[in-house]
Symmetry: C2
Subunit: 351 residues, 2 copies
């Protein structure tokens, strides 16, 4: 159990006088609190949602006070497997507890208490971030006026869980994993993380997009070897290896488990509309036509349950070729929808 914890966060824009313009951005698997802009000493490290959040952007920091938090148990500054366990003087590693989507939301609420923000104008997130936005609407109806649930699902399908499990298996069977105590051996399960990320990456891109981007293109003619030959192979290996250099394996295992477990309908015998019964926030649900990880059908389940519960919901299905990754990309229609929706949100004293 955690006695206390730190959360790394960033804010953009200014909290207005009646504190009615705060927007919380929730991140997905591998992102962080660094949502937008750049640091003075790292001019190339743009925030992961820099195309969405900033001055004059869809989430307009001239109008909103935007908060980015690194999730509890992640590896970018908040307390997690890579930080010190004060009781042992060593890194938490495999002893770090499992943290759920609900735990993230609760810890974010405590951060808002510290910041003096009672009510959020909106919570916004894509993928696992969208699940947090959904969970916010369920757990803190009195503290949130709008929830933007993008490229998400009401829970993971068996196939989603299967992909997560294979990725975990790749990490756990890496001989450098040492049951999660790899830091004690001054190593990291780089190969396992690489394979895990390669698997994940396949599910982030649409089949068509992969085809049009890489097709059967070869790097330098056919020559029969197990080195990367097809362009898609070298692309995936590059993505996997890059990821393995900055992401923590114990964090990966826990975050994917949090995804697997998320299922707000579970305590209502699978009836999602009952899970949504107490929601008072207005909901915007967005899906992308070619997303096969969390397909539009999964977003429609959310929308249907909200309608069944007589809640206020707007739904947009964006025609985008990029698959699940579309929620991170600069798509004109998608950004116009978010921009238009947020423009309609009142922020009290601010205009």
């Amino acid at each position: 159990m955690l006695r206390d914890y730190d959360l790394a966060f960033e804010t953009y824009g200014t909290l207005n006088a009646d504190k009615s313009n705060a927007v919380l951005v929730c991140h997905a698997l591998n992102a962080s609190h660094h949502v937008a802009a750049v640091y003075e000493d790292q001019p190339d490290e743009h925030g992961w949602w820099d195309n969405m959040v900033g001055s004059g952007k869809p989430v307009d920091t001239d109008r909103f006070f935007v908060i980015g938090v690194n999730n509890l148990g992640s590896c970018f500054g908040s307390t997690g497997p890579t930080t010190m366990n004060p009781e042992t003087g060593k890194r938490w590693g495999a002893d770090f507890p499992l943290v759920t989507v609900e735990d993230w939301v609760d810890s974010q609420a405590r951060l808002l208490d510290q910041l003096g923000v009672t009510t959020l104008a909106a919570v916004i997130g894509g993928s696992l971030g969208g699940m947090q936005a959904m969970s916010w609407a369920i757990r803190y109806p009195q503290r949130i006026r709008h929830a933007l649930v993008i490229a998400a699902a009401p829970n993971l399908s068996a196939q989603n869980i299967a992909f997560n499990e294979v990725a975990r298996q790749a990490i756990m069977s890496d001989s450098a994993f040492h049951n999660g105590a790899f830091a004690d051996y001054n190593t990291v399960p780089k190969d396992g993380l690489t394979v895990a990320r390669m698997i994940g990456h396949i599910t982030y891109i649409s089949d068509d997009q992969m085809e049009s981007k890489f097709g059967r293109g070869l790097r330098e003619g056919l020559k029969f070897s197990f080195a990367p030959e097809f362009q898609i192979e070298s692309y995936l290996r590059y993505q996997g290896e890059k990821f393995s250099e900055y992401y923590d394996a114990n964090t990966y295992l826990r975050v994917t488990k949090a995804l697997d477990y998320f299922d707000p309908a579970r305590q209502f015998e699978g009836d999602l509309s009952r899970a949504f019964a107490g929601i008072t926030a207005r909901m915007l649900v967005i899906s992308f036509t070619t997303d096969w990880r969390f397909s539009p059908a999964r977003s429609r389940e959310i929308v249907k349950a909200l309608l069944d519960a007589d809640r206020d919901v707007t739904y947009a299905e964006v025609n985008a070729p990029h698959g699940h990754d579309a929620f991170l990309l600069d798509d004109r229609q998608y950004h116009a929808i978010v921009r238009g929706y947020l423009r309609g949100i009142s922020t009290g004293a601010a205009t």
Copy 2:
């Protein structure tokens, strides 16, 4: 290079007087020459296509002389990475050459020479076996009267290659792989093979089938651990571990590469109809609605190219829930199509 090689094969039924009733069955990734029936001393080891091939079955051994061959380079009796290299006195291991779909077809043709079979009534295969049937029709038009191409594709998509590459990466990064020389170390890359098979298995089953078979079902209630909790997890781990106990890693790498390379249209600037121009066999192409590994759209590419080349083709799209695996399963509509098609094939003296 291979100076000579052995091929393991089995036959069922009787070759008729004018040798016009021979049917060659081509296998996919992990199957073998043991297509049908059981051995006396292994009464539980049914052939991998025992529901399709046998007396009174769709491929009726009362009428046809059926030949099953273990592909060259496989690991079930034919010369391959697990057999001895006569030049070194050691197993071939990583030194075994890469073998293509075309090599398989050519070696099968040499086996038929040995058996005195000049012309095949039909070649039949699913998945990679279907690619061999297609290649037979292209390479040996004078030796084949019918080709049954089931659950196949004219080549692998970028996504197909991506899944293969991740599986290979899992095997090659296993510390027990030793660059393919694992036999010298008396070990096998069991973990890598397990992960590879788990990945493959996800692509063999339809999303819906996985959902209805496993859903979010738990093995014994939620209890937060990295042991398999969801039923889909234990199922996949079981499948992966079982596979890792009998399949050779070097074979896996080579067979998936043969899949990646297969592309008969390649030497015709991608024009599949030109690759098909010399085909004289009648073709039956079958796909399954929920197959997302080699979707019906991929089979329709084959059919369209055959029609563009003015070849004789029949196409059936079977409504089956099982995904790619459907080609191995006992589906009534599917079996009726194969049965009916083969019934219409003349076999000279045999009736």
